[in-house]
């Protein structure tokens, strides 16, 4: 049996109560600090949002009241700037934000980049990219040599792509397999047209993930000059690259010479036949019908379905499908034509 004296127990209880008391005081102080921080942030938002709006949208004068005095003010400015950047596309406003950030927010974010907390550093890296703070580029480069996370390194790449494209190209070459295809897409979508074309010109030098990302990003950016770049890839020996290039061309929607797509009608790869059936949407049905009829009788369901849809969407496509149903022998193709026609009538 354990013997404990009353005095010992009393000391333990008092010690525990003291720790609890200290902890409560700590929590209370933290809560007060947070409340005071939120109050200051709200106060900046209340007094300055209107000033910012007048300054940026009504050609008002710059007020010194807009300059941040505390961390809470910086957070309020982040809210205001992000609202603008997310909703309004204006080079003039972007420039104002960049100049203001370089001048008044630089020191705050510089300090954040040296923080021991990962989330603080990440937030600073995001805001440097968002607000275009190129004056912090050297600070960003200096933290690269420290032990930083993969996410931070990715964010640094994003910053280089915005402020120093050559450095970005160099770093990306060193990190060819470091990231996923979607992460590369997120980086490539930010590049300006000239740099993006340069990336395309060196297509063979990139890893497969970057090559895929380049093709998909070209489709998203939908610029006419990329069509020629994608057309060059149609003779690539990798089927996935050919399929993605076809998909990209279809999405951009500029089909100037149909002959280069005709070999895909008889391709061994069904995805290529499918993409050909999609691309033919952008050409007159009268010229493409023979090929679409061949694709309508394809062995693959997806190809048949796409060919029927392409025909049905064209003017007089319905009549063509009706005629096809009358004379065709392939019952799978006839079923597909009937099904597509029915769907078309229901959607009217």
């Amino acid at each position: 049996m354990i013997h404990l004296s009353v005095s010992f127990l009393a000391i333990v209880i008092v010690a525990l109560l003291a720790i609890l008391g200290l902890f409560t005081v700590y929590l209370f102080i933290q809560r007060e600090r947070e409340a005071s921080f939120n109050k200051n942030r709200k106060s900046y938002l209340q007094r300055s949002t209107q000033l910012w709006n007048v300054y940026l949208f009504e050609e008002g004068l710059f007020s010194v009241r807009l300059v941040p005095r505390s961390r809470a003010d910086v957070e309020a400015i982040e809210i205001i700037f992000l609202s603008y950047l997310k909703n309004i596309a204006s080079p003039a406003i972007r420039l104002e934000i960049k100049n203001f950030s370089n001048r008044y927010l630089k020191e705050f974010y510089k300090k954040d980049l040296a923080s021991k907390r990962w989330s603080t550093r990440m937030n600073a890296l995001y805001r440097i990219a968002d607000f275009g703070m190129d004056e912090l580029l050297d600070t960003c480069r200096s933290i690269e040599h420290k032990k930083i996370s993969k996410e931070e390194r990715f964010q640094l790449l994003k910053i280089y792509s915005l402020f120093q494209p050559d450095l970005f190209t160099e770093k990306l070459k060193q990190l060819q397999d470091g990231y996923s295809e979607s992460e590369y897409r997120r980086l490539l979508v930010l590049l300006d047209d000239d740099l993006f074309i340069r990336f395309f010109d060196a297509f063979q030098d990139w890893s497969l993930n970057i090559q895929f990302a380049l093709i998909d990003t070209a489709a998203v950016r939908r610029n006419a000059p990329y069509v020629d770049k994608l057309k060059h890839l149609l003779s690539h020996n990798n089927a996935e690259i050919r399929i993605r290039a076809l998909k990209g061309i279809y999405e951009i929607g500029i089909i100037d010479e149909i002959e280069i797509y005709l070999p895909f009608v008889s391709s061994d790869v069904w995805e290529e036949r499918l993409m050909a059936a999609k691309i033919f949407k952008h050409a007159p049905l009268a010229n493409m019908y023979t090929y679409l009829e061949q694709l309508l009788q394809d062995e693959n369901w997806w190809v048949r379905s796409q060919a029927a849809e392409t025909i049905a969407e064209a003017r007089q496509g319905g009549e063509r499908l009706q005629q096809f149903i009358q004379y065709a022998d392939d019952e799978y193709a006839v079923d597909m034509a009937k099904e597509t026609l029915m769907r078309k009538q229901e959607s009217r």
Binding site: N53, F57, I79, S83, N87, I88
Partner: protein, 293 residues
């Protein structure tokens, strides 16, 4: 016989007055102006009564053969003035009509007739039929005026200012304020905005602000708290007077599926965020420019 039959069909001042008063009331409601042309024969009316009647019949027959089914020709009681009301036309079309008929008459050798004319474009209802006739008669009374003159009377051209309700439904308070500033600064001829802002779809639908017959511009985000933009869209488009709503939907979704869905649901404009505010202004200006001929 044919000529007499035609002349019998032409209306006089008193009959036309009733039509005019009805049309006048529709100008503002339909936002379509009426243009009146008054013509006066300058020469050949100084002979015998028979000669005068002959010329008047000839002018009437000629004008009747040139007007469209939507135009209304009438003769004033003094006999040597004719009026034509052009419904759904502005002074530009009326002037083109006059130039056309004048050039035909100038070339006509068998019955040389010389006319002069005045054009009055009416874009408000601050005019009486008598005032319109007197003003045009006075304008054509000047003997110094040469034949084929076309005078313009601009007294009734001023369009009334129409108040348009505007609802901005956007969750982001800062952007909401920016939109309000932008629309307040927008200078639209003949329209003025009465702007109300909402932070979510529910608060908009709860207010009865939209349940009036007034023209109403809605600028809303597709994603909103409580009731989203598509719910508002469906609610408004199933109302009996749905056409009074001009609906602009703002969205971050920049793909064809989302746009198709929005247009098929009944939006008038789909704007992808982030967008240029000047572009929004230009779109709104074009939308309202279409309202008046």
């Amino acid at each position: 016989m044919g000529k007499i039959a035609v002349i019998e069909e032409i209306m006089g001042e008193r009959e036309v007055k009733q039509y005019f008063e009805t049309w006048l009331e529709t100008i503002i409601r339909s936002r379509i102006p009426i243009t009146a042309i008054f013509l006066k024969a300058v020469t050949s009316l100084h002979g015998s009564d028979e000669q005068e009647h002959h010329v008047q019949d000839h002018v009437t027959f000629f004008l009747q053969s040139k007007i469209r089914k939507t135009d209304l020709l009438f003769q004033l009681s003094d006999g040597n003035h004719w009026g034509i009301f052009f419904l759904q036309n502005s002074a530009v079309e009326a002037k083109a009509f006059l130039n056309r008929i004048f050039s035909i008459l100038k070339e006509e050798q068998s019955h040389p007739i010389e006319l002069k004319a005045s054009i009055t474009e009416i874009r408000n209802n601050d005019v009486t039929f008598e005032a319109l006739i007197n003003k045009n008669k006075q304008r054509l009374a000047d003997h110094e005026q040469s034949s084929w003159t076309i005078e313009e009377i601009a007294d009734y051209r001023m369009q009334p200012i129409e108040i348009v309700k505007v609802s901005i439904i956007e969750h982001n308070e800062i952007f909401r304020q920016v939109l309000e500033i932008t629309l307040n600064q927008l200078d639209l001829p003949h329209f003025t905005f009465d702007i109300t802002t909402y932070e979510d779809g529910y608060s908009f639908l709860e207010m009865d602000h939209y349940k009036t017959g007034q023209l109403h511009l809605i600028l809303m985000n597709d994603i909103l708290p409580r009731k989203n933009g598509f719910e508002i869209l469906h609610n408004l488009r199933k109302m009996p007077n749905a056409k009074k709503f001009i609906i602009y939907m703002m969205s971050e979704r920049n793909y064809e599926g989302a746009m198709l869905n929005a247009y098929e649901g009944g939006v008038d404009e789909y704007i992808v965020k982030p967008f240029n505010l000047r572009l929004l202004e230009a779109k709104i200006k074009r939308t309202f420019a279409r309202f008046w001929l």
